[in-house]
Point group: C2
Chain length 116, copies 2
DNA sequence: ACTCGATATTGATGAGTGTCAACATAGACG
DNA sequence: CGTCTATGTTGACACTCATCAATATCGAGT
């Protein structure tokens, strides 16, 4: 039976870009993640969450990025759908957190070759 | 006087996403790079170049990705304009190469926090 | 139950983007 | 010089996306 590892597993998303030809499926998956990070507002929201203690923050703490409230909600949804954030409602407020291991996976994907 | 380091310097592009609030300018710059990587065709072109010996490849060697030749040219231009690739004409053929240190910079930007 | 504050959803709109066919440019080679 | 091959550019079109106003939902208090 497969071991149900809960949270700290690097997603088998994508091989390093320098490792060889990317399959069409991998390219599609990676492009989705990069697309989620390809907007300045989303990057600022993400960095605010990632730099908060515990890698989590209430929407009310990060929402002042210069766009309207629906737009903030829209961007957070995109980041969540891309697998970069998770959200949890606690009473009145909703907390977004950086999805575990996603940063490591993306970072590894972009890691340069060690030996040419 | 500033030391003119030629090739192996990490571009002062952007701080790690987990380091703190991203400035608007940094967010804009990073978003541009991620946007360049947010297309499956561009990712496949980039990975083909990055995985070639020397991190460089002739267009003729990577052009068969399922889209027309003008589209390939268009995507390579985008990658070049984003600072991810460099191009050089050698006789009949044009060679694209991974821009030095860009991969390291982006990878470092996505690096997870070491100590929460 | 009613209200209020926080967040999400809907619908509309303008800007941006991926794609291709047609054409242009640039070396190489006869 | 003319032709052939490799690559870039232009213009057009369909499609996606970021944004906002308006509205909905959801908890908490009163």
């Amino acid at each position: 039976m497969p071991t149900p590892e809960p949270a700290d597993v690097v997603v088998p998303c994508c091989p390093p870009l320098t490792a060889g030809e990317l399959s069409e499926a991998d390219a599609e998956r990676m492009a989705g993640m990069f697309k989620a990070l390809s907007d300045p507002v989303r990057l600022r929201l993400f960095s605010r969450i990632a730099s908060h203690p515990g890698g989590e923050a209430c929407v009310c703490d990060i929402a002042d990025v210069g766009v309207s409230q629906p737009t903030v909600s829209h961007h957070l949804k995109k980041l969540r759908e891309a697998g970069l954030l998770t959200s949890e409602r606690r009473g009145t407020w909703v907390y977004y957190a950086v999805a575990p291991s996603v940063l490591a996976a993306l970072s590894a994907t972009l890691a340069p070759r060690v030996a040419p």
